[in-house]
Amino acid sequence: MKYTFLLFFLSLAAAAPLTAGLAAAQEPSGKCATDCHTDIQAVLPKNHMTVEGEDNISSCMQCHLPSSETRRDTRVFSAKVHKRHFSEKKLQCSYCHIIEEGVSFALPGRESIGIPDEQTMKFLPDITAEWAKSPFLAATHSAKDVACSSCHGNKLPLLDDKPANGTCFACHGSYEQLTIKTPGKDHPSRNVHNSHLGPINCTVCHKAHEGSINYCLDCHKFDMNPIPAGKQ
């Protein structure tokens, strides 16, 4: 099924300053001025250079990397643009992307970055909005312009995608390095990153799109430091 641009969502989004001067369109063209913004310069940050040439996504990517698979790069387009579009209003993916469920997910004129399934598409706007703004770990990452791709790779992440430990370690250090940073609250030797379970998946405790949990407490009754972005 093909996602189409819905007038309903347009009217909802119109109130936001970001979407001032919206123009109607049936399908995203990749030209922001044609699709939504009559004056592209007006929605850019105040100190942003003047955008030369065609006011479309390709212009942005002359300076901004489309995405980043490793450490954060503050110029990553994906981080910048998704945060702007999702921190105040939850937009639909189809505002900018051409989506064919089970087939492709792409920006106009660009290669598909993955095969979207029904479950993923059902939740992707929510998940992206949470990344932009929420009490969860994903938002901690977006605050530092860490894009989806930094954890999930340069592909459309499907609903069950869980980053492997190496991805976390690339920025946060190894289990050994983390152990030094996290002595136990009640006893220094009771260290969450050096447990009898060994180097378990980081995602057992650290959950980016829901409250994180302290897995130790599943069995033990310890007095522990709260986990960042913990489940309330």
């Binding site: 030797s189 379970l197 378990i200 998946n201 069995c219 033990h220």
Partner: protein, 519 residues
Amino acid sequence: MSKKVARRSFLKGAAIGAAAIASSLAMDLGRAQNAGAAAKARALPTKWDETFDVVVIGSGFSGFAAGAEAAKAGAKTVILEKMQTYGGNSIINGGLYAAWDSELHLREKLKYGNDSAALHTKDTILGGDEFPIPELAKILAEGAPDALNWMINEGGCKLKPVLAKAGGHSAYRTHICEEYNGRGYVEPLHKIALKYGCPEPRLQTEVTWIWRALEGGPVLGVEVKSGGGGRGAGKISNIKVNRALVLASGGFSRDMKMRTDHYPYLKDSFLSTNHKGATGETIRFAQNIGADTLQMNFIQLYPYAEPESGILDEAGLYPFNGPGAGVVYVTKNGKRFVSEQERRDVVSFAQLKLGDANKPTYSIFNLEMLQKIGAEKKKLDDFVAKKRIVVADTVGGVADQLKINKAALEETIRKHNEYLKSGKDPEFNKPITPQMVSLEKGPYYGVPQWPAVHHTMGGLRINPKAQVIDVFGEVIPKFYAAGEVCGGVHGSNRLGSNAIPDAIVFGRVAGRNAAAEKA
């Protein structure tokens, strides 16, 4: 012919029973929603999403051992694990391994007397009140040294240079790994499995059905639910087994329905040493395809769990390993209440008989004893800092810290020291050995202890080849099981430190035989 008809009708009954179980199971676990389909015989899958030669369910001792042996024999193997971490109960297990010998020959080196596979077998059978199936107990005892050597040589397993004479054993045969927990064997097995080409276990991959045609024949495959959690509903898929399925999914101590169905006394007011995944759904799926079970009501209490949480930590192992070194168990009144060399069931029920008002009881050690069973001073200091155990320069000082009857404890220890000298325990008739340490020199230690549900001795009926047997006594083709999911190896009471050799020895047997099946 009549047999076939009978089997059909059995399956009908089983399916109805399973339906009743299924609804409460789903409530208990918040999982296994497909079990609801047991109300009717489920149609076999029309297509398979994946195919493996050998599928192993569970990533504990048995699972990794089976996976390693199957992969070594050239079978395309996969290990499925429903939890988010691998290792199940095995990785939180106490790390005690009973073997009458090993290539390290610790017993000879320590001059701890004689032992043999026959004596280990005999202890296992008598310790289980003659309920163990002798052939199975024998396989455990005879295979234990070789499996230990295998882990030492190929997996880097490291043992402490000590041996314990644990409750119910008539010889010093309990080996203790460096880690003092089951990870000391899980990681070596994991390493061996990977070495032979068995891939990393698939985590969060839960079996939701075992497929076998209603009219009988071999096990065909499994239905699994993978992923899920958060917003994800998980994915249901079907995996076909070419050669065989190995069930290594552990016991059911945390399955309140199954536990109390078979042993109503062990209601949920009892704590458990087990991890949360120790539930019985795979036993139900196996029963539903005709598997026989035995001795399901034999469920063991571990007498020395941490009294508030039920956890079995290293401090909770010292009381179990201590008898051969001379540990003394006492009540709040400072009195002994049982022979410390008794079996787990005897010690547990001696405590329960004291009543909740007398919870917990205590083990009294000195440093020399604890070092004899592999406890390191640094670790002891750490447990003291965490208030898990207490230490004092005198026996009276330990009594003060434990807030138990001081005069009585001093008198108890004085008398016990005399018993060690005379070689006779007139109170509880404990067999005294020269290795037992008299409590005359500090520092002294005290550890609180109380029973918690620990091990389910019952389970699926297997033959010596680890093949699962059906209710008519026939082999279910291409279906193996090993470890705590099986019954009949330990009888009414499993001797401590027999679980690991049981799981690993039978895991290896199952893995080899599974790989040898025709595709």
